[in-house]
Symmetry: C2
Subunit: 450 residues, 2 copies
């Protein structure tokens, strides 16, 4: 990659533009767009103008919105029109949503009235809905067409369609009667009727479906494109797998953030986000978690007599709380993911709880043994080693039970388990661990018995 | 979904198999395969035999390996042969890898000698390599063909190819000269030479490339299929986006597990995994983290004099350690993900550190203010409130600095940041938090000064 940027800089230095044009032909449009980050503004503009029309449009959709804006501002009306003509409707909508209003005006000037109407309609769908993701440029066929007629239609309108690989067979009321792939059409006899070879098992998406569910459907069905229907069940658009992949990635990154107690923020890359934005997305949970930890502290102070008498008890607090927290987090992460991927449903709660209790018992038993031996060797104090052993096995079992039940409860209440469970979990598990530890200690250690 | 299973059970009760056959035609193969989980063995076999040949093969590849094995054992030789003939080579290889040897023998009996040779070769690639994922059934064209000749070739060999949508133009030594999509072929004039319209910017994968990188390339380039070349740069196979998506999902789930201190285990769903398997994947880190927490405990016991004098200090330990841990985890998660998605590279370390120190200072300042006020109101003790305030801002800054530098250091040492950083991070941050807290306390609270 860096080699390629260097090569391009060299061409610029030598003002060898015809060679550069030749060189760019062998580079993928995704790579070209990421090179733009490392070039100067004048270089970007020159390089963009050297690209072939089709590739220029591909590169354009890949660019960050600040570079898109810069480019639009220097392109002539003719050049801008060429770019926009090559774009698919869904990409145009994405760009319009990102640009300031003066740029939007300039873009809209070059769009035909019919397309402008479609764009306006797409802009009205809720932000994260299937309707806002879809494109209206698809290929529709009729049941009574022959394969030959279908192929002729594809040849005619294919150049303006986002994909020619999946075609939809529509009734007169624009309901989907079947789906047929270009592969099937190409391999079939030319006189076959479409209705004979089309696939009638149709997966449909509603315009108002949330984008996360759309992405999951692609993941589940391994389809290249899926049709979007309105509430009258008429085909209004399609979504292709590349758009679904982007959503899947976005949602996954959000899940990582949620689990690390970070509030969702803009999709800007780490280094482009301002310090203030970073602070905003992190301070909320830190404050909440800090204040909820005072609850644990208050409970802890109730046992002041105990640790005033046996000071050593304090030094095991990090281990007890740490082990409880880690055990609970293991379980909650597994259960939250299993619910997200639909491996586990709410009705499985008893099976899950029973499994976690058994896992917790075995894990706790192992920790108990290791720890009793270690403490006995270090302090030659059987009571102390017994206290820590019993505390560990109990806290691990309790943490695992809470770790699986709390996310399921949150889901049952129709909240997002990844967001709500994490902080609640920490607080609840910390509290339980402290109470178990000091209750066990006061009932076993002779000096603490009153 | 449940409705559909009920409907099918109804057909079985009425022994209405011709209606069932009709009903199954409208259901997607992914849905059919997931219904198999809820049917009895005899029902599965009857239902499978009612499927059309092509759909039967699709359903077969989607099934869990235990159901595949069950099916193979009851299928006649003729039926088994039909299934295998419909499968693509990469799916056959996947199935062979999962089956016990007696079943493998029965499968291999129905495979042609040439295919058997290919399968043997594919089985020899390292487990997680591109070679083991690819299929050898692709469409290759020659530069001097016309579009008409190319389309004729696709019609002839297309039925056996995993995809007809991306075709590769090869030299006589089987090097890739260009890539051409079926869309472009279909929309072009029949007499055009392939060399004139093929795309020369080729993305290639090496046979030994790790599957995680393969998945990332699909994610980056939004391609439907990518070619795999051997070390002599000859085209030997292709990988399609559906296989890449599966890997991407697997790797993501593994990342979630790593960050929650869980060791990777089998890909079985949660409920199918045995208690012992769950224990095995969780006990390792819990033991390590438990023992490393004793280090924090040892440091803590050094300050016994301090908390023997001012008992209240103990009750703030959960808050100080919790806040430090959460601050560090926020940063480390963000940096680990940013490195995974290549938003941040190792050379950015100074920019990252500087950003985190500023974020830490602002966040710490907010926590300081909130906490000083709260403690002053609760205890009317200015010294105590000052101790906690200073402790919090210092620990947050230090935790954020460690939270970004440690993962980068681990990456620099060519280890996986998600695996190594998490436990090390907890231990290091806990230690720092305790030391900061008691150092600040002993230097501010009058009673603790000697």
């Amino acid at each position: 990659m860096e080699e390629k940027v260097d090569a391009i800089k060299q061409y610029f230095q030598n003002k060898d533009y015809s060679q550069l044009k030749e060189y760019l032909r062998d580079i993928n449009s995704v790579d070209i767009s990421s090179m733009f980050d490392e070039l100067k503004d004048e270089e970007i503009i020159v390089m963009y103008r050297l690209l072939e029309k089709e590739k220029a449009a591909e590169v354009f959709t890949e660019l960050d919105s600040d570079i898109q804006e810069k480019l639009i501002s220097v392109l002539t009306d003719k050049e801008l029109k060429d770019v926009i003509n090559e774009l698919y409707i869904d990409d145009t909508v994405d760009i319009i949503e990102e640009m300031p209003s003066n740029v939007v005006k300039r873009i809209l000037k070059h769009i035909t009235p019919e397309d402008r109407q479609i764009i306006n309609k797409l802009l009205q769908y809720p932000e994260d809905s299937a309707g806002s993701m879809m494109t209206t440029e698809f290929i529709d066929l009729k049941e009574n067409m022959t394969v030959e007629e279908a192929l002729a239609k594809i040849k005619k309108i294919g150049v303006d369609s986002e994909t020619v690989y999946t075609c939809y067979v529509l009734s007169t009321t624009r309901r989907i009667m079947g789906v047929i792939t270009l592969e099937k059409l190409l391999l079939a006899d030319l006189n076959t009727k479409i209705s004979e070879i089309m696939d009638q098992s149709i997966i449909k998406i509603n315009t108002l479906e949330d984008q996360e569910n759309v992405a999951k459907m692609f993941d589940k069905y391994d389809e290249y494109a899926l049709p979007v229907v309105d509430k009258e069940d008429r085909l209004v658009g399609i979504i292709t797998v590349d758009d679904a992949l982007d959503i899947l990635k976005e949602e996954q990154e959000e899940d990582f953030e949620k689990m690390a107690a970070i509030m969702p923020s803009s999709d800007d890359p780490y280094l482009k986000k301002s310090v203030f934005e970073h602070v905003k997305s992190r301070i909320g949970w830190l404050l909440i978690l800090m204040l909820s930890a005072t609850l644990t502290g208050t409970i802890l102070s109730k046992y002041e007599d105990a640790f005033a008498t046996v000071g050593l008890l304090v030094s095991f607090i990090p281990m007890v709380m740490g082990t409880a927290g880690n055990s609970g987090q293991q379980t909650s992460t597994i259960i939250i993911r299993a619910m997200a991927t639909e491996e586990v449903s709410l009705s499985d709660w008893l099976k899950v709880l029973w499994k976690e209790i058994r896992v917790g018992t075995l894990v706790g038993l192992a920790l108990l043994i290791v720890n009793m031996i270690r403490i006995y060797i270090q302090y030659q104090d059987f009571e102390l080693s017994l206290v820590l052993g019993i505390t560990l096995i109990l806290t691990v079992i309790v943490s695992k039970a809470i770790g699986c039940m709390l996310p399921m409860l949150v889901k049952k209440l129709k909240k997002d388990p990844a967001v709500v469970a994490a902080p609640l979990l920490t607080t609840v598990i910390d509290l339980c661990a402290i109470v178990i530890y000091f209750q066990v200690a006061t009932s076993i250690i002779a000096e603490l018995k009153h």
